[in-house]
Amino acid sequence: MSDTKRALPALLPAAPIKLPTQAERRLTNGLTVIAIRRPAVPLVEVRLRMPFARANLARGAMLSQTLFSGTAEMSTVEIAAELQSVGGGLSASVDPDRLMISGNSLAAGLTRILEILGEVLDGAAYPSDEVSTERDRLVDHIQVAKSQPAHLAREALLQRLYGRHPYAVQTPEPEQVRAVRPAQLRALHAERVHPAGATLVLVGDFAPKRALDTAEAVLGSWNGGGKDVTLPPAPGPEAGPVLLVDRPDSVQSSLRMALPAVPRTHPDHAALQLANLVFGGYFSSRWVENIREDKGYTYGPHSVVDHNAAGSVVLLSAEVATDVTGPALLETVYELGRLSTLPPGEEELEQARQYILGTLMLGVSTQAGLASLASTYAGVGLRLDFLSEYTAQLRAATRDDVAAAAAKYLAPSGAVTVILGDAAKIEAPVATLREVELE
């Protein structure tokens, strides 16, 4: 090693986030279209978000699996082939808030991909054979999910967290899926797949106004109407004993905690994001440096502020070796408690602030990143220009603000805790720290 230390180069000042050219239009059928220009590669990204709250769980899941399974004119295979011919692909997914169709294609295929999207939105037929195939596939898929610790831990946490709220159960049971009939899918489609309240985001190598014209020409005749369904506010975490879910012979324990949070537009949100980062929201956080880089208990612990339409929550996850489950919980509670009772250091706060400001910029540097963020924001009535407001709040948050947010939201006394693991081995060590309840 050399005698003289080399100096870390200084950072050049970061440019403020520059938003791309965009245009927006509300079509007469109620569809909002947002077109954003990023011509770096000759592609387009497509995101269509439709409100889908309170849709029947099994039918909603099946609808997303069979939306592209044929229309009066086209079969599953023909739809897929037509999309491919413009370098395209589309797929659907559901969650308790929305139905989302996402995809992409070559830029020259924009009109065609929207035409196929329009045909499916207007005329998805849910043919019996295809529905039957997809029903079996979804059942298989759920069975595989139920063998995965991450899925089981999430299921247990959601139930514990949300009780009777629709967020409590997000995966249908196999027998519920087996009971779904094509007529029910057609009825659900007729009732809920509508432009009212829906947002189409297009990002890519095009002139935004022309992209809007294309979208209007192709999707302007999509059936209007639709219902406005909202969920009641989700209950916040109600602390209780640690819920232990037995998974005999598990070589790791899946530790999950939920803490209260606020939506993006809440005045505390920026400070909470910073507090979460300092705690466990990125690699250079206290929690990761402690239980991974110091103790070696785990590979990828992380915590995130998770936003849903009916409520936000801070979620912590770590897969820890079975024999250090107790110590890992101890360190987790310690780090939450430390940040909730003592203000963060100046330097660590600046580091977290620079991280989030930088990663916001990285996030909007690709077509796919822009499309996903614009669509997510649109789902809560925001536009990309919210980024300027948000970054200003992040810059302005003081140590006191962050300390206050940590005390208010990250206090370990407010946590809902679930641990999935080998109960015979972990119950006693966990019980030394917290009251335990076996599922």
Partner: protein
Amino acid sequence: MKIPATKYPVERFTLDNGLRVVLAPDRSAPVVGVAVVYDVGIRSEPEGRTGFAHLFEHLMFQGSENLEKLAHFRHVQGAGGTFNGSTHLDYTDYFETLPSGALERALFLEADRMRGPRLTEENLRNQVDVVKEEIRVNVLNRPYGGFPWLKLPPVMFDTFPNAHDGYGSFEDLESATVADAAEFFARYYACGNAVLSVAGDLDVAAATEMIQRHFGDVPARPAPARPDFDEPDLTSERRESYADRLAPLPAVAAAWRVPNPIDDFAGYLPYVVLAEVLTDGDASRLVERLVLRDRTVTSLGGYLGFMGEPFEVRDPTAALLQFHLPPGGDVDKVLRTADEELERLAADGLSAGELGRVQARMATHLLRDTDAVLGRALRIAVLEEQRGEPELINDLPRLIGEVTPEQIRAAAATLTPQRRASIEVIPGGGK
């Protein structure tokens, strides 16, 4: 549809110490991707040291000449960036994505660890623990862990470099020493064995000067000779199975050797396209037949290379197909039907428009990968490392588009049962 291309300018040069550098400027967003790729991977780790290349990758984040433990992470993230590293069969990469004002910082960090990581007993033991948890998360505590990327190579290959478990046995990981790490660094982490790439918002002259300043005094060390890992092709079918106590449903994966991706790129490319013809989406041959018509398969996939990276792997490698079956599914029947579809493709060729649409979709995937500065930086670095042709990044969509129906037929004809290695997962009930 006409297949478009990108026109990223690609600049190459070599420093006096042998470090190869590739720059791809593109000022469409104020961000840069920085990658350093070392020409060493899983295939180069010594016997008795399975998993060592990956463990060593972890050690490269544990501090270096001017950096304490944790400093690397903090300096990257505190500059608004993200980082990672990953270990592959033939290379190991280290990379950052950052706002462009942090470019020099990233170069400093990479140069510092290229001069030498801080290898200590404490950090080694800590990272052995972390890697064991990584293996538990990704392999031991989940169904289908390591399927097929860790399970199929030992069926197909006979020699240690190609056949062994690249994540490593706990026994080998635990017996790793600081001396092993120092030797591994000395041998493989030579600047003559590395490529540095930067993509995104950069000025070529300024970046070149910074690179010269930070990397110019990394001691010159030549690349070690790279052994030939080739093995003879299979002459008869190989078939094995194993029980997965966590898996609820049967699965099977099959692999066939393909032409040398580096020396015979033209002969190799048709296989890359064939895999997509067979498996990409509902209009692909095998999905249409096995999933939609016969319903003997729940989901399937097809790709080149055990880690699914067709343009980042050397010989020997394989084309793979993998199938997840419904409860009680018949693996033999699935393999037979796949054979049938391959024979049909070889005999009757493609239908009108079939190849063109697959090539168009592949172009979208390739272009999409490179929209992110990091995707670009990694691809040009590995293309330089393995081929000395980073500008190939702009040509890949076109080359894919030039593969002919006749080449696809000929490729399909080689995927016969006699040349196939397969591995079956016997479900243990799923709990």
